[in-house]
């Protein structure tokens, strides 16, 4: 029996979810290792040898080497199993998909993150000095990015043009997390955004926990 790669994971955490969706799309099986963030297992000295940033997901290869950061892990999976292609076929498409993925990460995900750390769930943990004014600004930025997406989805079926890519996985994870955990569900009148969300959410890969 072949040894499987291990993914350090935590249920409902949005970044491990990105990798699990990606692996499902690639038909790659990973052994999921529960890293209990509630018990701060991602901050132990042992875990920091796997990822000095103390974050999940981490992919541990068969030889024990570790890769952190969702997009870096996904790119590794793309390189060891190129089909179906999710990162681009030629130099221009690879760069274009990366730019779109980064727009979602730096302009939407980052703002959702600010709303999350300054919101009620993290607040209830009492471990973080919250800044309500920062949350007001980030909530507004999230809403404004949703409007931009809605207008982009008038022209494009997917985040990076006419086919499903890593950038769609990044966006669906962001929106689902914002909706379920940060009280930032997109307004119902953003019809193009909802059309995209419904279509992407119907993929079997989206059912991963």
């Amino acid at each position: 029996m072949t040894k499987k790669m291990k993914l350090y994971d935590f249920p409902k955490a949005p970044n491990p979810r990105r990798v699990k969706i990606f692996a499902h799309e690639k038909d790659i099986e990973l052994e999921l290792i529960n890293c209990d963030m509630g018990k701060r297992e991602h901050k132990t000295p042992e875990f920091l040898t796997k990822n000095p940033s103390g974050k999940i997901p981490v992919l541990e290869l068969e030889n024990g080497e570790c890769i952190s950061e969702s997009v870096a892990i996904c790119r590794y999976l793309e390189l060891i199993k190129p089909e179906p292609n999710l990162f681009g076929m030629d130099a221009y498409e690879i760069a274009y998909i990366e730019s779109r993925n980064r727009h979602i990460e730096f302009e939407l995900w980052m703002q959702i993150g600010i709303s999350w750390v300054n919101g009620p769930i993290v607040g209830s943990l009492g471990i973080f000095d919250q800044i309500p004014k920062a949350k007001e600004a980030s909530d507004k930025n999230v809403r404004s990015f949703y409007e931009r997406l809605d207008s982009e989805f008038k022209k494009n079926n997917y985040v990076a043009g006419d086919r499903f890519t890593i950038a769609d996985i990044t966006l669906v994870s962001a929106i689902d997390f914002a909706s379920d955990m940060v009280n930032l569900e997109p307004k119902k009148d953003l019809k193009n955004l909802y059309r995209w969300h419904k279509e992407v959410s119907s993929r079997p890969s989206m059912l991963v926990e």
Copy 2:
């Protein structure tokens, strides 16, 4: 005469600098087009057709197609001119370098950005509602990341192991911007960080404006 690729640029802006350093390392000549951020030329309708995020740098190819986001532009240059390699040689190294580059971007650059938008230079423009408490927190996070880097440079010569890569370009641009523009120069006792900075800064590519 071959038509050159164009880079939309602004002097002293740290992200265009990353691409200019990278292109110099690759010996790729780009035609620099000044995009005057002071006049908000990066927010005009015409510029938004090149990059809907309204940011520089943007690389415009010979056929008029545009790529935004520094790292995506650099990856494009790597793909069209593989030598010298700055993104990794095999699947593991490519993923590892990407993870290290992302640690710098998401944990250091992002915090420097928060200190910058809430600091005196942006404040003097009067276009942004500043949050002093957010700057206090991000200043502290930047200082703490410098300490982490110092301890990593005890073990590694470069950000991603034993050779110069894109991740070093990301870090040197971050530290130089933080030092010159955000009043966040690393403390002098971080000897390993300074050793790395001195070595990297001596490369001819670092002299680009």
